[in-house]
């Protein structure tokens, strides 16, 4: 009897908590979207949470007429290149750490994971100086390098744990079929890590898409800057165009939302089922 009641409570509590969390995550975005439709006067006169008076797209037009599209292009290039390199490097490292036993492999893994502890901003000055001395300042490569580096520890961690789950027999069967270590990685582990790779791609993609500090420090010209810096264009020393900033934020978030909506299904589409008895 008691058990049944507990069951009922959870049946109510879980949706309520879910709705609460949905509100926490979506309300700010709805606020941003509404704000982006207001005029500057409106934001000063009307109460904070008031709905926009009309469906006013002038902020968007203003943003799109500026350098937004250049920023978008830069972001797309830098982030997609970084994510591809991250997936390639981290999956290779993960395969080696998960399956090839060599001297100090465990210590090496621990060292890579320790990289997650290093506060990102501590590395800002050295990275800036290195970038300058290598002549990469204000180039896409100058951003891609640090982006890959800061994303590797967590990616290696996720993929190593993932690849440890791949049944050992598959590797052995591949060896019997004539695969060396690289072919085992390329033909077996990489395709089977699909869900892990999507996780890594999405996690890092979102993080890097929103990355501000490195982009701010390592680039200077509009031609090279990425999306998070677009906000900066509408932020003066004494005044800021809040609705325009909100329009930039909405437009910046849109690609992520679209990509996530498409990519989510792929994550769910786990390929591991059926490799073993089941």
């Amino acid at each position: 009897m008691r058990k049944k009641q507990g069951f009922k409570v959870s049946r109510v509590a879980i949706p309520v908590l879910g709705l609460f969390w949905l509100a926490v995550t979506t309300l700010p975005f709805i606020f941003v979207a509404f704000m982006s439709l207001k005029t500057q006067q409106e934001t000063f006169i009307k109460p904070f949470w008031a709905l926009p008076e009309s469906f006013n797209l002038s902020n968007y037009i203003e943003v799109l007429e500026g350098s937004f599209l250049i920023y978008l292009r830069n972001s797309l290039f830098v982030i997609s290149t970084s994510v591809v390199i991250i997936m390639l490097f981290s999956s290779m490292a993960a395969y080696a750490l998960a399956r090839l036993k060599f001297k100090f492999s465990d210590s090496l893994f621990a060292l890579i994971i320790a990289g997650m502890i290093v506060p990102l901003h501590v590395t800002l000055v050295p990275v800036y100086l290195m970038t300058r001395s290598m002549g990469l300042y204000d180039t896409p490569a100058g951003l891609i390098g640090p982006y890959v580096a800061i994303s590797l520890p967590i990616s290696v961690f996720i993929l190593t744990e993932f690849m440890r789950q791949v049944p050992k027999e598959l590797e052995e069967a591949a060896k019997l079929d004539g695969c060396g270590p690289f072919k085992v990685y390329w033909k077996i582990f990489l395709p089977l890590s699909g869900p892990g790779l999507s996780t890594v791609a999405i996690y890092n993609g979102i993080m890097l898409w929103n990355e501000f500090v490195f982009a701010y420090v390592l680039t200077s010209s509009t031609d090279r800057r990425t999306l998070p810096l677009a906000v900066w264009d509408f932020q003066g020393q004494y005044a800021s165009n809040v609705p325009a900033i909100m329009a930039v934020v909405t437009l910046s978030a849109l690609p992520l939302i679209i990509v996530y909506a498409i990519g989510q299904e792929k994550i769910v589409n786990g390929m591991m089922a059926g490799s073993l008895k089941g």
């Binding site: 069967a173 060896k175 019997l176 699909g194 490799s275 089941g278």
Partner: protein, 265 residues
């Protein structure tokens, strides 16, 4: 030329010796079963022959060639795993063709061999499916098919039937026996802890025993005499089997053979 000879073979994991001084001769085309309780090292021995596990000491010869340092793919062996180990991201056809592709076999040849094996195992309609769309018995057939297409000198089976239900197990057992008839020149090694399976399939049964090394106590010379079960062996056999065990006074067994199976250690 599919004879397998093991000479003084040992296997050590770090300091732990799991297989002591194994001497074994499996003739051309013989069906040999490794029988023993779990943890006795029978799978390890099989994996050493496959080349997945390194041989710490001794010589392993297949078809007159020393194979200790030969990579698994070049040993002309094919293995069927207990859990099938089919590549989940490939279709049945790709699973069976994968090894041949790695060996750079011509495409037409691959197609012919895969189709032939599929016809033999009656899995032709399944060639486009993924492993997860197959039943246990079908997966087992695909795993056997993957072994057949490689036209190996030696088939290795690692408890291939233990994941199937009882009825299917008996059925697949007879298919494996048929396979042995279809490829009389290939040797087969089959690992199991099921005595009935061993009795049904084997030309030769190798009994492995878990526990301390008996060879040091001088038991091996007695064990090695075929069809003679020394007292030290009896508890192993009795523990293995729930079936009643016939006991004969030493020297008497030769006159009263039971089946074609012989005991050897």
């Amino acid at each position: 030329m599919t004879q397998i000879i093991l000479e003084n073979v040992e296997k050590r994991f770090a300091k732990l010796t799991v297989l002591h001084d194994i001497n074994l001769n499996i003739e051309d085309g013989q069906f040999c079963v490794f029988l023993g309780p779990s943890g006795c090292g029978k799978s390890t021995l099989l994996r050493m022959i496959a080349g997945i596990e390194e041989t710490t000491e001794g010589a392993l010869t297949i078809g007159g060639e020393i194979m200790n340092d030969v990579p698994p793919a070049e040993r002309r062996v094919a293995m069927v795993f207990q859990n099938y180990a089919l590549y989940p991201h490939m279709s049945v056809y790709e699973n069976m063709a994968f090894g041949l592709k790695q060996a750079k076999t011509p495409k037409a040849d691959i197609e012919r061999r895969v189709n032939e094996a599929a016809r033999m195992l009656q899995i032709e309609p399944l060639l486009d499916r993924r492993p997860k769309q197959l039943s246990g018995g079908q997966r087992q057939r695909v795993a056997i098919g993957r072994a057949i297409v490689r036209q190996p000198a030696v088939f290795l089976f690692d408890e291939p039937l233990s994941n199937l239900d009882a009825a299917l197990r008996v059925h697949m057992r007879s298919e494996i026996a048929n396979l042995h008839n279809d490829y009389p020149e290939a040797s087969m090694i089959y690992v199991t802890h099921d005595q009935t399976e061993a009795m049904a399939l084997a030309d030769k049964i190798v009994l492995l025993r878990a526990g301390p090394d008996v060879t040091k106590k001088g038991a091996l010379p007695r064990l090695a005499r075929p069809r003679t079960l020394p007292p030290s062996c009896k508890p192993v056999c009795c523990r293995l089997s729930r079936l009643p065990f016939n006991e004969f006074p030493e020297g008497d067994v030769g006159k009263r053979r039971c089946g074609r199976s012989g005991y050897q250690a």
